[in-house]
């Protein structure tokens, strides 16, 4: 018994060390991404401007050729020509943060490698934390936070591994991940401990793990939506004959086209929406077993519902004339705001049956005892 406790304590120690190491490496990655942006700025890329400045417009061929050459086929395949839907701007995607600069690209690669390393460290931190408490590492806000940021980075790396064009996310992601971890180790830190019986259910694994995953993916979608808003404003200005500032140009030229960012945000949000629906339903089933009713308008339930309706509104907006584009993007951000409030705001400011996730204080008797 005491021996086990000692092992657990050293595991918890190890978890803390790993989390701090991860933070250090994330910081290095952060600087490497900065370097990528800085070196990338040396090259002059102004494709958007070229595509949108009236005189050159006609010359720009928007054709993106999709090559699907099979390995065995000897025959040349017919080429598929893709064109943008009528009404949308034909703007090519930016080259990414490195801006085509070789040194910038090198720093970008270093940054990604460091992100992978930091991710592994953080993952180890989460894992040892879980081992030290012999349960899933989602019993309090400290644990939520470290799992959440690790998952968000995991989603990013997964998209990279799938060869999606998302490296431009790196800087924004590491910045916020550092904030999130900083908050976790300073304000939210909680000694590792076991769960109250109400949290001790396999629904914890299902409900909370999907909730964290959804949050991470929604977050990536929200970053996409913010960047879309900037890029769209930039493109609109250019198309109207305006001249954006040099800093804006330098940054925004390197991002994907507004249409691509918009589509990226939509895909990410839409892909995870069914999972979010499932999360709420799993929570309702759990509430049915733990509290005797599956839905009772507890603040956490209410805010999950609000988040859900807000994202449903966003998906609707995309199919509603006059609501596509910027308005839909604002909706997506509002929806993510609801998610964030549900995660931080409700835990800290509003008390309800979900108040297990206390900051510091031992979780106590939330189920009526």
């Amino acid at each position: 018994m005491t021996l086990a406790a000692a092992t657990n304590e050293s595991l918890a120690e190890m978890s803390n060390v790993l989390i701090y190491s991860a933070m250090a490496v994330y910081t290095l990655a952060f600087f490497a991404y900065i370097a990528e942006w800085i070196f990338g700025s040396r090259s002059k890329v102004a494709r958007t401007a070229a595509a949108l400045t009236p005189k050159t417009q006609a010359k720009q061929a928007p054709a993106v050729t999709v090559n699907k050459a099979g390995g065995t086929a000897v025959l040349e395949r017919p080429k598929v020509v893709v064109r943008a839907a009528s009404g949308s701007r034909d703007v090519p995607d930016g080259p990414g943060a490195h801006g085509g600069d070789e040194q910038g690209d090198l720093f970008g690669r270093i940054a990604v490698s460091l992100t992978v390393l930091a991710f592994l460290l953080a993952f180890g931190g989460v894992l040892t934390r879980a081992l030290s408490v012999e349960r899933a590492p989602w019993g309090n806000m400290y644990e939520f936070n470290i799992t959440f940021s690790t998952t968000a980075v995991g989603v990013y790396l997964l998209l990279l591994a799938l060869k999606k064009n998302v490296r431009w996310l790196g800087l924004f992601l590491t910045t916020t991940v550092l904030l999130d971890l900083g908050l976790a180790v300073t304000v939210l830190y909680t000694e590792s401990d076991q769960l109250v019986p109400a949290l001790d259910s396999y629904w914890l694994y299902i409900h909370v793990s999907t909730a964290i995953l959804c949050g991470a993916v929604f977050y990536v979608g929200a970053v996409g939506a913010v960047l879309y808003l900037f890029k769209d404003a930039y493109e609109t200005k250019l198309a109207g004959g305006g001249r954006p500032g040099t800093f804006a140009t330098s940054v925004l030229e390197r991002l994907p086209a507004a249409a691509s960012l918009d589509k990226f945000a939509y895909r990410v949000n839409a892909a995870v929406f069914p999972l979010w629906t499932f999360t709420i339903i799993a929570g309702a089933i759990w509430a049915g077993d733990a509290w005797g009713r599956y839905w009772g308008w507890d603040p956490k339930e209410t805010w999950s519902f609000i988040t859900w309706v807000a994202y449903a509104g966003y998906l609707h907006a995309r199919a509603t004339a006059g609501w596509k584009g910027r308005k839909a993007a604002y909706l997506a951000l509002a929806a993510f705001g609801c998610w964030l409030f549900n995660y931080y705001g409700v835990n800290i400011f509003v008390s309800g049956k979900h108040s297990y996730a206390d900051v510091g204080l031992g979780a106590l008797r939330s189920v009526g005892f």
Binding site: R77, E191, W295
Partner: protein, 580 residues
């Protein structure tokens, strides 16, 4: 092999023309309501009603209502709600004398059953029904019909490809039809082209999702109307049967009937609790469970089960939850002659997390005082499972488990007024007609007892024994909420429908094969999705590759103009000419 790149002429006419071109091809690719420009109704009640209905079932209003619903749900999460925590509402009323009446008027203490909140979601669901029904009919129509023929100029579509082949046009069309059908497209031949469509499940999914929302709402409302929720405290060894009079208290929905109660009964065998011994969470429960023997129906056979915090006992529609627990010391009271007048486990109510408890021992019948008169006895009881030691001087428990149990009693005699007709709490004593037993100093007679100890009442009035056997009690909440199965079914269907709706792309493919001006067959393929997607060109590429294998490319004519692909269509030619 010719490769066509876009040759866009800037200008309004082109875009409009292009949209018209796509119009037919893209028609009915979804069942979403088309947005009409708001044209105000000209005349009459019917006109207005129709206009109103159109508005209500439009996507714009549905979106607005969705946003309103999420906004409307917010106050209920920030302001205390009667349905969730009445004491908090009472506190709030005391602290905000000005605000509270306003909140009352606005229904802000009961948002989720307020008129305005109900209005939003009822409107939304009327809109939903008004949206689903026509969409379903439309979809059935689309299933009966066939994919529309190829647009005049396939080059105008979001993804397209073309090549010249030595094969005859009929041969190409046949191969294309076979290929598309094998790939589970619904395909048919229209004129010189094959038209094909796939992904109808997307629409099915979308309709199923929206329909499931209705099922869930109805199931939830049904559950609220027929719901019952009662509490019962049972001491180890005692039993409960699920009838109205047995409950300590019960709340129910407006259509609930006592006959709806699921017939079952149970006996409490054993409660087990263990608690964290050290650390910051000292005292937090670790095990918390109760063994029951229960039987379903009036004469069901007895079965054994264990109820835990997350694991209620389910009988039919009813669920039995373990909600709290406490101690019930067994107390024996004897009169002056040593005759036992009371012996029972007395459940005491916990006051804090470490189960400091209080309650009353009432001896109603059978006691005669030393003078031989009938009298009633009452004892105020305080109990701690873990006493801090007499040095601390307090009766505040240090730990929830039975480490050092101590019972403190003070004694009264007289009339408990139990028969006055006013229902009495078993945990409180009406002292108006009770007199204190006095100790030697003339103070209220009171004593601390360890298990097994007996205290003698003054003047030979009898004795009270705190038996060694301390029982525990468990409190149960019995909830019966019909419709849960429907809600769950609706939820599962909703997720399935949603996934189909979001992940399946409904798309069309056309393959046109016709002889070009030089007699060589020109194959044109184009794809169109409901929304722009990378999958459409990818799939088109795949299809084209397979078809290209069957009807391989022929060499390009030397003088191929980039417009070759447009010319095979005889109808298109004049329009193109006029445009340029």
């Amino acid at each position: 092999m010719s490769k066509t790149t876009t040759d866009e002429t800037p200008g309004g006419t082109d875009t409009r023309d292009q949209d018209q071109d796509l119009g037919a091809a893209a028609s009915q690719l979804s069942t979403a309501p088309t947005e009409e420009p708001p044209n105000l109704p000209s005349l009459g009640v019917v006109g207005w009603a129709r206009w109103f209905w159109r508005q209500l079932t439009s996507m714009r209003v549905a979106l607005l209502l969705l946003l309103l619903l999420s906004l409307g749900a917010i106050p209920g999460s920030l302001i205390p709600q009667t349905g969730i925590d009445e004491t908090k509402v009472a506190d709030f009323r005391e602290q905000h004398e000005v605000l509270a009446p306003i909140y009352d008027k606005l229904g802000l203490f009961d948002v989720y059953s307020s008129v305005w909140f109900s209005a939003i979601y009822i409107l939304l669901f009327v809109s939903l029904i008004g949206c689903i029904v026509p969409r379903t009919w439309q979809f059935v129509g689309q299933l009966r019909g066939r994919p529309p023929g190829a647009p005049r100029r396939l080059t105008r579509l979001p993804a397209h490809t073309t090549w010249r082949t030595g094969a005859a046009p009929e041969q190409v069309r046949e191969a294309a039809l076979a290929l598309l059908q094998r790939r589970r497209f619904r395909a048919h031949l229209v004129g010189d082209a094959v038209a094909a469509e796939k992904g109808y499940l997307r629409e099915v999914g979308n309709l199923v999702f929206h329909f499931s929302l209705i099922v869930m709402l109805v199931a939830f409302a049904w559950g609220q109307l027929f719901k019952s929720e009662g509490n019962k405290l049972v001491v180890e060894g005692d039993g409960f049967s699920n009838t109205l009079p047995q409950y300590d208290d019960i709340k129910s929905g407006s259509l609930f009937d006592a006959g709806d109660l699921e017939p079952f009964s149970f006996t409490v065998k054993d409660f087990r609790g263990t608690y964290e011994r050290t650390g910051p969470n000292k005292g937090t429960p670790r095990t918390y469970e109760v063994d029951l023997a229960y039987s379903e129906g009036a004469y069901g056979e007895e079965k054994k089960t264990t109820v835990k915090v997350n694991e209620p006992l389910q009988v039919g529609d009813a669920k039995v939850y373990l909600t709290s627990h406490g101690y019930a010391p067994v107390v024996t009271v004897r009169d002056g002659k040593g005759k036992v007048v009371f012996q029972d486990a007395v459940p005491l109510l916990p006051l804090d997390a470490n189960v400091t408890s209080s309650g009353v021992v009432k001896v109603l019948d059978g006691y005669r005082n030393p003078e031989g008169e009938k009298e009633q006895l009452g004892f105020q009881a305080f109990f701690v499972p873990t006493f801090g030691g007499s040095a601390t001087g307090t009766m505040i428990s240090q730990f929830p488990a039975l480490d050092y149990p101590v019972l403190a009693l003070n004694a009264y005699h007289g009339d408990l007024k139990a028969n006055s007709g006013i229902p009495q709490s078993v945990y409180q004593m009406d002292k108006t007609k009770m007199k204190e037993f006095k100790d030697a100093d003339g103070e209220l007679f009171k004593k601390l007892l360890m298990p097994g100890e007996t205290m003698k009442l003054p003047n030979g009035a009898g004795s009270v024994t705190f038996e060694k056997d301390i029982k525990e009690w468990a409190q149960f909440q019995v909830v019966q909420e019909p419709g849960g199965g429907w809600a769950l079914g609706g939820a599962v269907a909703a997720i399935g429908g949603l996934a189909a709706s979001l992940f399946i792309q409904r798309r069309r493919v056309w393959v046109r094969a016709a002889a070009g001006p030089d007699g060589v067959t020109v194959v044109e393929m184009a794809g169109l999705g409901r929304s722009e997607s990378a999958k459409v060109p990818e799939e088109l590429g795949d299809l084209a590759a397979v078809l290209y294998d069957r009807v391989p490319g022929a060499p390009d004519p030397d003088d191929a103009s980039p417009d070759t692909s447009d010319s095979p269509d005889p109808q298109a030619a004049p329009a193109e000419g006029a445009e340029k």
